[in-house]
């Protein structure tokens, strides 16, 4: 059952071969068995999940089921979910039971009838690439418990990889869906900025944050994205576009597909074993009828620098709301209001979050705004223009998702800059606002390697098609970690 696709699970539910309650219980049992060693979930609430499963079973019995009604899903703890502890991986929200639902949660639960299994662990306020900045402790990679699952959606990635959930939600500000998908042998998609509502998704960097699906296949991602995407008037940057069926192009043949290979993604700095797996995937695509063209993203090497100005600037503004007044943690002792703010924030935020707030406060402060913030925004434009030029030559862009495989816990924790560079291939996509995905393309030793596909604006269905055809010809995405049977 745990290896079945969402489509197969849906068919089993429709044929009454299994009920949603039974399926949900199966996953709750796996969570209670394996979560103590993985730490993928921060919060599990079996009663709540089973109540939702019962409602889904009734909906199926009434003949009102949608394609995913009754299927369990793990939710990243960045999404506010009514009645659920919603921590965002932080001590600051360690007592916050959300009084409302994020649009993503509302659409999945009330709209599509999915059953939330729990809230997954994550880097604090989504700031990290290893899940080690979580107040709730690091998540272990199911492929090797001594290694990180990636971040910031590390709990969602570990949960799906360990078959503690068939599918999960994630968010991606600089690579937080794609990098953990890569490190855990999953398929994950970051949609075009504005396709999925940010309402109720705790903000990190508002001009970059975007939610998306994390799953075992492109087909599963397409099905989950169908429930997540769509205009929402409660998010001022949500795009008012006609709704799409993201599964519509899955079977389209790849003959004539032009795959752009940015020369900057195939130079030094990438693990040779990762590069070998990516090159083998290119050969597979050529067998499927695609042809490759060399393209150039000449400013992509500046993306990490520009990102670490823009994202912290937006974060310093967004996180000013955590002041111990309206919700969340408040320091137990203080002298006056100013002291309450600064003690609450000193105690409530972890080290990485503080670093980024300080960077943001600095680059926005008087005398530095033009040199840093405006310069970063100008470089952001150059990076977006590079992609626009490349997409004149090709239909999709391909390269590695991450320069290496899963690293050891603690290996990069002491050096923020080394950690930041693990997102070197993913960050430019967020700056431009483009859709990008990661899919399994092989192994380096025993560790999974991810292939990144980048599409033009609103090319999600095409990306999913390109990934799906590859997954029909290969079985990397079907490999599961050992020892979790």
């Amino acid at each position: 059952m745990i290896e079945k696709s969402l489509k197969e699970l849906s068919q089993a539910l429709a044929a009454k071969k299994i009920s949603s309650v039974e399926l949900t219980q199966l996953y709750l049992d796996r969570i209670s068995r394996f979560n103590p060693q993985l730490n993928a979930f921060i919060t599990v609430n079996g009663d709540k999940s089973l109540a939702a499963a019962r409602a889904a079973d009734q909906r199926i019995a009434r003949g009102e089921a949608g394609p995913l009604t009754g299927i369990p899903v793990a939710q990243k703890d960045i999404f506010c979910a009514e009645g659920w502890l919603t921590t965002c991986g932080s001590k600051m929200l360690s007592n916050f039971v959300s009084p409302y639902d994020a649009t993503v949660i509302e659409r999945m639960e009330r709209g599509a009838g999915l059953v939330s299994l729990g809230k997954t662990n994550m880097d604090e306020f989504a700031m990290g690439s290893s899940n080690e900045t979580s107040f709730y402790g690091p998540v272990r990679n199911p492929w090797d418990p001594e290694r990180v699952p990636g971040g910031s959606s590390g709990g969602s990635a570990a949960a799906v990889a360990a078959r503690l959930a068939p599918v999960a939600s994630g968010t991606d500000t600089g690579g937080s869906i794609r990098q953990p998908a890569s490190l855990c042998n999953l398929t994950g998609l970051k949609p075009t900025y504005g396709v999925v509502s940010r309402y109720g998704m705790i903000a990190f960097a508002s001009s970059l944050d975007q939610a998306g699906p994390m799953a075992r296949s492109a087909e599963d991602c397409a099905l989950l994205l169908n429930t997540m995407a769509g205009f929402d008037e409660r998010d001022s940057t949500s795009l008012d576009r006609p709704s799409e069926d993201y599964t519509r192009d899955l079977e389209r043949p790849l003959e004539g597909l032009r795959i752009g290979l940015p020369k900057e993604f195939f130079g030094d700095g990438c693990d040779p074993e990762v590069m070998a797996a990516v090159r083998a995937a290119i050969a597979e695509y050529e067998k499927l009828g695609a042809r490759t063209v060399e393209v150039s993203l000449p400013n992509s090497h500046l993306s990490v620098a520009a990102y670490y100005v823009i994202a912290p600037a937006e974060a310093s503004s967004n996180l000013s709301r955590f002041d111990g007044v309206r919700y969340g943690y408040r320091a137990p002792e203080y002298t006056d209001l100013a002291d309450m703010y600064s003690k609450t924030r000193a105690q409530g935020f972890g080290a990485e979050v503080k670093r980024r707030i300080l960077i943001g406060a600095y680059v926005l402060s008087h005398g530095y705004y033009d040199a840093y913030y405006l310069q970063a925004q100008r470089i952001r434009r150059l990076i977006a223009d590079d992609f626009a030029a490349a997409f004149k030559e090709c239909d999709v862009i391909l390269g590695p998702t991450s320069p290496g495989t899963a690293f050891k816990l603690g290996e990069k924790a002491a050096d923020p800059v080394q950690m930041y560079l693990s997102d070197i291939y993913t960050i430019a996509v967020n700056l431009a606002g483009l859709p990008g995905m990661s899919l399994p393309c092989g192994f380096a030793g025993s560790l999974p390697v991810g292939l990144q596909l980048i599409g033009n604006y609103f090319a999600e269905a095409r990306l999913l098609n390109v990934a799906h055809r590859y997954q029909q010809a290969t079985d990397w995405h079907r490999r599961a970690p050992a020892g979790l049977e």
């Binding site: 009084p99 900025y193 795009l239 620098a305 969340g328 006056d336 600064s342 925004q377 100008r378 800059v417």
Partner: protein, 95 residues
Amino acid sequence: MSLTLEQVQRIAHLARIEVSESEARTTQGQLNGIFQLIEQMQAVDTRGVEPMAHAQDVSQRLREDRVTESDRREAYQAVAPETEASLYLVPKVIE
């Protein structure tokens, strides 16, 4: 460029985050490492490039000025550290 200890303490004050002197020293080293990475940007000639504030080139959507939310004050205040008579309580600001 390099941040001084005083600058670190000043931005921590601006950000309302209390830091001890030893924390400020550790932070100073880390921030300077990060700014070394950020400095790469300064070598790029961006004259005439329009800053890009946002991923989509769209203007702010406006809505009609009408009430769309129901009153859920009790639910929202239930998660507050301290309230009284529907007000959020903070330490006394004006004597």
